[in-house]
C-alpha cells in the first residue's frame, strides 16, 4: 500500500516541522554536551529523563536535520522562512565548530579532562555534535550549489550519483577530525619547542614522557658503580617504572640488574660474588596500602636517599629494616650499598 502525501498538506507542515527539527536536534545535542552542568544535576530524575530521551532521539534528529538542510537549500528562493532557517543552520554550525575547536585547544593546553572538570562540558559529545555540523554545512552548501548554481564546477566532485556522495561525506568528517586535532598538534609542537630546542643537548636527551622517573634513575646511576649488581623492586602496580628491568637497564647498563623476586636465586647461583651489591630503596602504592622495597633486614654500608625537594640524606653503617625506611618520610628514591 502506498501512502500519498498531498503537496498542499506538506507545505502546511513544513513551516512548523522544520523549526521543530532544527530546535529539537540542536536541543538533544546541547543536553548531551551539558549533561553534567550543576543546574542539570540538581534536576535528579528529570535529568536522567532528558539525557535518556536525547540519546534515544538524537540519531533520528540528526538524520532529519540532514534532509532539512537539503530542503532549505532547495527552497531558498521560495520565501524568507527558508532563507532565515538556512542562515540559522549555518550560524549554529559555525558557532559549534568554533566552540569545539576552542575547547579542544583548552583541553590540549591544560590536561586531559580539563574541560569536563572545570567547565562541565562533555567534550566527546561536543566533538560528535561538531562532526555532524560539518556534515550539515557541507550538505547544505552542496545542495545550495546544486539547486541555485547547477553549473558550478565544484559540483563535479559529487555529481556522479549516490555512492560518490556517500564517499565524500565520511571524507569531509575525516578532514574535520584532522582539523580538530590541530590545536593539540600546535600545542604539542609549542611544548616540544620550548622543552628541547632552546636547551642544551644533555638536557634534551632526558626522558621526557616518564615524569619523575628520570630523576629517580639518574640518582641511582650516580650512586652506583658500573661494575656492580643492582637489585630493584619487582615489577608491579606499586612499582610500574622502577620495577621495570628493561627500562632501568636503559640508564643503568652495564650494571647487572636483579629483580627483587629473584634475589635469592641470584645469591644461590653467585655465592662468591665479589662486586658491590646495591639495592634500590623505593616506596610505592597499591590500592590504599604503601609498599616498601626492600622488605627484609640488610646490613648497609651506606644508604643515600633523595627527597622530593632535591635534598639528599646519607646514612652510614646502619641496619636497614622496614621500620628504618618508614621513618625516612616522603622520599623519592634511595640507594643502599650492602656490606
Amino acid at each position: 500500500m502506498r501512502i500519498k502525501i498531498d503537496k498542499k498538506q506538506l507545505e502546511k507542515i513544513i513551516p512548523i516541522g522544520l523549526p521543530i527539527i532544527f530546535l529539537g536536534a540542536n536541543l538533544f545535542n546541547v543536553i548531551l554536551v551539558l549533561r553534567s552542568l550543576p543546574v542539570l544535576l540538581e534536576l535528579g530524575i528529570l535529568r536522567k529523563l532528558f539525557v535518556g530521551t536525547s540519546k534515544f532521539l538524537l540519531p533520528i534528529g540528526d538524520v532529519l536535520y540532514f534532509f532539512m538542510a537539503v530542503k532549505l537549500a532547495e527552497n531558498w528562493n521560495k520565501g524568507k522562512f527558508f532563507k532565515i532557517l538556512l542562515v540559522f543552520v549555518a550560524i549554529i554550525g559555525f558557532c559549534v565548530l568554533s566552540l569545539s575547536f576552542y575547547f579542544n585547544y583548552l583541553e590540549a593546553a591544560n590536561y586531559p579532562n580539563f574541560v569536563f572538570s572545570q567547565l562541565h562540558i562533555y567534550l566527546p559529545s561536543l566533538r560528535f555534535y561538531a562532526s555532524f555540523q560539518v556534515l550539515f554545512l557541507f550538505v547544505a552548501f552542496l545542495s545550495f550549489l546544486y539547486y541555485q548554481f547547477p553549473r558550478s564546477k565544484y559540483l563535479k566532485i559529487v555529481s556522479r550519483g549516490f555512492f560518490r556522495g556517500a564517499l565524500i561525506l565520511p571524507l569531509v568528517i575525516i578532514l574535520y577530525n584532522n582539523f580538530l586535532e590541530l590545536p593539540n598538534i600546535i600545542y604539542n609542537e609549542t611544548a616540544l619547542y620550548k622543552k628541547y630546542i632552546s636547551v642544551s643537548p644533555e638536557k634534551r636527551n632526558k626522558l621526557p614522557d616518564l615524569g619523575d622517573y628520570y630523576y629517580k634513575i639518574a640518582f641511582v646511576r650516580s650512586n652506583t658503580e658500573e661494575n656492580s649488581v643492582v637489585i630493584h623492586p619487582t615489577q608491579s602496580v606499586a612499582f610500574p617504572d622502577i620495577g621495570n628491568q628493561p627500562l632501568n637497564r636503559y640508564s643503568l647498563f652495564p650494571r647487572k640488574l636483579v629483580t627483587g623476586k629473584l634475589e635469592n636465586k641470584f645469591f644461590s647461583e653467585n655465592k662468591n660474588y665479589n662486586e658491590t651489591i646495591y639495592y634500590i630503596v623505593a616506596k610505592g602504592v597499591d590500592k590504599d596500602s604503601v609498599i616498601y622495597f626492600p622488605e627484609h633486614l640488610i646490613k648497609a654500608e651506606e644508604i643515600s636517599v633523595l627527597y622530593k625537594d632535591g635534598q639528599i640524606k646519607n646514612f652510614s653503617n646502619v641496619e636497614y629494616s622496614l621500620e628504618f625506611v618508614k621513618n625516612l618520610g616522603d622520599f623519592e628514591i634511595g640507594v643502599l650499598t650492602s656490606k
Binding site: 565544484y154 563535479k156 566532485i157 550519483g161 555512492f163 560518490r164 556517500a166 564517499l167 565520511p170 571524507l171 569531509v172 568528517i173 575525516i174 578532514l175 577530525n177 584532522n178 586535532e181 593539540n184 598538534i185 604539542n188 609542537e189 616540544l192 619547542y193 628541547y196 630546542i197 643537548p201 634534551r204 636527551n205 632526558k206 626522558l207 621526557p208 614522557d209 616518564l210 619487582t234 615489577q235 621495570n244 628491568q245 628493561p246 627500562l247 637497564r249 636503559y250 647498563f253 652495564p254 647487572k256 640488574l257 636483579v258 629483580t259 623476586k261 629473584l262 636465586k265 641470584f266
Partner: protein, 483 residues
C-alpha cells in the same frame, strides 16, 4: 664520520636515478630514504651476528653496499664510456660527477645535476624546470620535519626500554643473542629484547656509531617517504584536484600518523616500507617493469625486518601473484620466476629472523605459534561469548579509523554493486591486501583471546598495527573515483 651518512645517501640517490631513468624527484627522495634506512637496519646486524664485524663499521658497510650497487649500475651494465673502445663516443659522454654534481648540489637549488652515461645525458635533477608548487611545499615540509627531529630526544616507553636500549647495548659490543643473558634475573621480561626484529635498533646503532647524538629525525624521514609516495600516487590519478588534496590531507594529517613521528616506535617505519612496496607494486602493474617489482619486494622485506607480529606481507605477496599471473603477455615460466623471486626477496628477512630466534633461544613463546597450535587455539576461540567480546574489542580499538574503514566499505559496495566498470588490476590488488589485513586482524584477535589474558588491554597497540588501513582505504577510494 657524520658526513659519511649524507655521502652514502647521495650515492644511493645517484644509483636510483641511474637505475630508473624516468624518476620524479619526490620518488627519488622517498625511495632513497627507505633504502638507506633499510640497509642501515639490516646489513650491520647481519655482519655483526654472522661475521663478527662490530657496529662501529656500520656506515662503511652500508657505503660499501651503496658503492657496489652504483658500480654494478655503471660498470656491469657497461654504461660508463671509458670501458668502451670507441673514443668518439667517449668525447660526448664523460662522467661529470665531480664537477657539476658537487658544485650544483652545494650551491643553488636552481641548478642542474648532470651525469653523462651511455646513450646520452641524464638529468639527475632538473630542479628549475620540473618543480611544482606542491613539490616545493612537500620538500620544505620535509626539511622542517627533519630539522625538528634533530632536537627531539627518544620518546615512548618501548622506544626507550627496547628499541633504543638495544642500540646502546649493541654499541657496547654485545650481540642480540647476548642480550638475553642480561634478563637472567628478570621474571617478567625474559625474552623482551628478542620480541621484535632489530630494524630500528640497528638504524639507531648505525647513526650513534657515526656520531649522531639524536635519531628522531629518522622518523621524519619515514614520514616524508610515506607522504611522498601518497602524493605521487594521487597525482597520477584522473580525479578532481580538490578531491586529490582532500584525500591527501585525510591521510597525511591524520593525528595518529603524525603522532608516530614523535615516538621511536616501529609502526611508522613499517607503514612507510609497506606503502613504498605498494607504490612500486602499483607502478609495476602500470608499467610492467620488473625492476619495480624487485624494489617492491625489497621494501616489503625491510618491513618484515621491522615488525614480524603482523604477517601483512601475505596480502602483498598474494596481490603480486595475482598481478603477475593475470598478465597475459608474460610467458608462464617468467610468471613463475617473477613470483618466486618476489616471494623469496620479501620473505628473506623474515626467514633470517625466524632462524636467528630458533638458534638463539629456540622459541620466544606464544607470539610465534606452530601451525597446529594456531589452528587448535582458533577452534577453541569460536564460541559466542568470545566472538561478541572480540567484535566489541575490534570496534572499540579501531574507532579512530572507523571512518577510513567506512570509506573502504562504501568504495567496495559501489564498485561491486553499482559501477558498470570492471575492477581494475590495481583495485583488485588493493582489495586483496585489505581483505588479508581484515582476516589477519580477526584471526589474530581470535588467537590472542584464547592465548593471553591481557588480549583486550592492547587496544592502542592493535590500532597502531592496523594503521596501514588509513592509506590503503584512501588510495583505493581514489582509484574507485577515477574517471
Amino acid at each position: 664520520m657524520i658526513a659519511l651518512v649524507p655521502l652514502t645517501y647521495l650515492i644511493l640517490l645517484i644509483w636510483l636515478k641511474l637505475s630508473f631513468k624516468k624518476i620524479e624527484l619526490l620518488e627519488l627522495l622517498a625511495s632513497t630514504n627507505l633504502i638507506l634506512l633499510g640497509l642501515a637496519g639490516l646489513v650491520p646486524f647481519l655482519l655483526r651476528e654472522y661475521a663478527g664485524i662490530g657496529y662501529k663499521y656500520s656506515i662503511f658497510e652500508i657505503m660499501a653496499v651503496a658503492l657496489a650497487l652504483i658500480t654494478y649500475e655503471l660498470v656491469a651494465k657497461r654504461k660508463l664510456i671509458f670501458f668502451r673502445a670507441d673514443s668518439s663516443i667517449q668525447e660526448n659522454t664523460e662522467l661529470k660527477l665531480g664537477d657539476e654534481l658537487n658544485a650544483d648540489m652545494s650551491s643553488s637549488l636552481g641548478g642542474k645535476l648532470a651525469l653523462s652515461v651511455r646513450g646520452g645525458r641524464h638529468n639527475l635533477i632538473s630542479l628549475a624546470k620540473k618543480l611544482s608548487a606542491p613539490v616545493i611545499f612537500l620538500m620544505i615540509f620535509g626539511v622542517i620535519l627533519i630539522s625538528r627531529g634533530f632536537y627531539l630526544p627518544i620518546r615512548g616507553w618501548d622506544a626507550i626500554s627496547l628499541y633504543d636500549a638495544r642500540a646502546r647495548m649493541f654499541l657496547s659490543g654485545l650481540s642480540l643473542g647476548e642480550l638475553k643473558t642480561l634478563s637472567q634475573y628478570d621474571d617478567f621480561n625474559y625474552y623482551y629484547y628478542l620480541s621484535y626484529p632489530p630494524m630500528t635498533s640497528v638504524i639507531h646503532t648505525t647513526l650513534y656509531s657515526t656520531g649522531f647524538s639524536g635519531v628522531m629525525w629518522v622518523y621524519a624521514l619515514f614520514y616524508m617517504s610515506f607522504i611522498y609516495y601518497l602524493y605521487l600516487l594521487l597525482k597520477k590519478l584522473e580525479i578532481n584536484r580538490l578531491l586529490k588534496i582532500s584525500l591527501f590531507a585525510a591521510v597525511a594529517f591524520n593525528p595518529l600518523i603524525i603522532g608516530q613521528m614523535n615516538i621511536a616506535y616501529t609502526n611508522l617505519p613499517m607503514m612507510a616500507f609497506q606503502t613504498g612496496s605498494l607504490y612500486y607494486l602499483i607502478k609495476y602493474i602500470w608499467d610492467r617493469n620488473n625492476k619495480f617489482l624487485i624494489i617492491s619486494a625489497m621494501l616489503l622485506s625491510f618491513a618484515n625486518w621491522t615488525r614480524n607480529l603482523e604477517p601483512i606481507f601475505i596480502g602483498f605477496v598474494l596481490a603480486t601473484l595475482y598481478a603477475v599471473f593475470t598478465y597475459k603477455k608474460l610467458h608462464i615460466l617468467k610468471k613463475m620466476i617473477l613470483s618466486i623471486v618476489y616471494t623469496a626477496i620479501s620473505l628473506l628477512t623474515r626467514t633470517v629472523w625466524t632462524y636467528y630466534l630458533r638458534n638463539s633461544v629456540g622459541s620466544i613463546g606464544d607470539t610465534t605459534p606452530s601451525f597446529n597450535i594456531l589452528i587448535s587455539r582458533l577452534a577453541d576461540s569460536l564460541y559466542l561469548g568470545n566472538l561478541v567480546g572480540i567484535v566489541f574489542f575490534i570496534f572499540t580499538a579501531l574507532t579512530p579509523i572507523l571512518l577510513y574503514i567506512l570509506l573502504m566499505g562504501i568504495g567496495l559496495v559501489w564498485r561491486n554493486l553499482h559501477s558498470k566498470r570492471r575492477h581494475s588490476l590495481i583495485e583488485t590488488a588493493l582489495v586483496i591486501v585489505f581483505i588479508t589485513m581484515v582476516a589477519l586482524m580477526l584471526g589474530g584477535t581470535l588467537y590472542f583471546s584464547t592465548t593471553f589474558t591481557w588480549w583486550d588491554k592492547i587496544g592502542g597497540s592493535f590500532l597502531r598495527s592496523n594503521m596501514l588501513i588509513i592509506p590503503l582505504a584512501v588510495i583505493y577510494v581514489a582509484f574507485v573515483m577515477e574517471k
